[in-house]
Symmetry: C2
Subunit: 202 residues, 2 copies
C-alpha cells in the first residue's frame, strides 16, 4: 500500500517512542516540522544531542546541577540543619516554587518500588548518613509522593534514622487547595480527617 | 530563583515550540529523554535533521515522494481520467486507506484562506490545467475539507474548470459513520438533509 516516504516514517517512529505521543500526534508533529526551516530543526536536534552532556549531578544532594556542589548546597543562606528528601529534581523545583523552604535537599532519584525492581540500593543514598553527620541535620522532611512507593521509601528512611536524635517529618496529606470535598477520594478524605488541626478560640 | 540547568531549559524551550506541547509536556519529555542513552537520543536527533533532505515532492501531483514522478503518478494501474484534488499528503493517505479510489491525485499543499494570507497563487496549481489536458481527465473530485477554506478552494477550482467539459464532483457531506444523529451539529445535519438519497422500492 502507498504510504509516507521512508525518512518521514522514520521520524514518526522515533517521535512515537516518546511518552504520551501516539501515531497521530507523531504524524502531526512530523508534518509541523516539515514546514519549518532546516535551521529551526537543527536547533531542536542540537538541543537534544547536547543536553545530556551539559547536565551533571551534584555529588552532595544528587540534584541536577551545572556546577558541583550545586547552587543550593553551596549557598550560605540555606539552613544546613534542615534536609528535605525528594524523589526527583522536579520535586526540588516544586518545593522551591513555594518560596517557603530554606533548607537543603537530598534527591533520591527514584522511589522504592518492588514491582519495578527498584530497591533501596538503587536510590542515591550512599552518602546520606555521611551528609546527616556533616551537616548536623536536626530535621529530615520526607517529601516523597503520597503513593505506595512514596510510603515504602518513607518507611525505609525511618528505619535508617531509627535510634538517632534527628526529628523526622512527612508532608501533610489532605484536601488540595481549591479542591472540592464532594469530589475528594476516600483515601484523601480519611487522611485529611486523621490529620485534622485544631482551631483555637481567640 | 533556582531552576533547571541551562541545557535542560534550552531543550524544554525547543520542545515547547512544537504544536500541542506546553511547558508541562515539554518538561516531562525532557526528563524522559534524560533517562535514555545518548545513542537513543542521537537516533531521534538524526531522524530530525535528516528527514527534510530525504523528502522530495512529485513534480506532477505535488505529493511527497521518494522518486519523481511518484509511485502513484507513474503507476499504470491507476485510472488516468480521474483526478482527486486534496489539500495535503495526509489526505492522500486517508483516501488510499479506503481502498476505493483508483485515480490520480493533485495535492494543493494548502487551501485558500484570506485570513492566513493564503491566496490561489500559493497553491500548487501552476501545472494543473496542463495536467488536465495531458491526462485527458474526465472527472475532477474535489476532496478539500468541509470548511470555509475548503469551500473557498472548491469554488476557485470550479471557476478554473468553468467552460470545460470536465465533470466536477465534491465529496458528500453528512453524518459520519457510527455517528449519533442526536449529537450532530446543525450544519452537518442540514447538509445531510439536503444531500439525502432516495431508497428505491424492490
Amino acid at each position: 500500500m502507498y504510504s509516507y516516504p521512508r525518512a518521514l516514517r522514520k521520524l514518526i517512529a522515533e517521535l512515537e517512542k516518546l511518552p504520551g505521543i501516539g501515531t497521530h500526534t507523531a504524524t502531526r508533529l512530523a508534518f509541523h516540522l516539515l514546514d519549518k526551516s532546516q535551521q529551526e530543526i537543527e536547533e531542536l536536534a542540537g538541543a537534544l544531542t547536547g543536553f545530556k552532556k551539559n547536565i551533571s549531578f551534584c555529588s552532595k544532594c544528587h540534584n541536577m546541577a551545572e556546577e558541583d556542589p550545586c547552587q543550593i548546597c553551596s549557598s550560605s543562606e540555606r539552613d544546613q540543619s534542615l534536609l528535605c528528601v525528594v524523589e526527583s529534581p522536579r520535586d526540588v523545583i516544586a518545593m522551591e516554587k513555594t518560596g517557603e523552604y530554606k533548607g537543603l535537599y537530598h534527591v533520591l532519584r527514584g522511589l522504592i518500588s518492588p514491582l519495578d525492581d527498584v530497591g533501596p540500593e538503587d536510590l542515591a543514598l550512599a552518602n546520606f548518613r555521611e551528609r546527616l553527620q556533616e551537616l548536623q541535620v536536626q530535621e529530615v522532611i520526607i517529601a516523597t509522593d503520597p503513593s505506595t512507593e512514596g510510603d515504602a521509601t518513607a518507611l525505609y528512611l525511618k528505619k535508617i534514622l531509627q535510634g538517632s536524635d534527628i526529628k523526622i517529618t512527612r508532608l501533610a496529606q489532605g484536601l488540595p487547595a481549591g479542591g472540592d470535598l464532594e469530589y475528594a477520594d476516600e483515601v484523601t478524605l480519611s487522611r485529611a480527617l486523621s490529620g485534622r488541626s485544631e482551631i483555637k478560640y481567640d
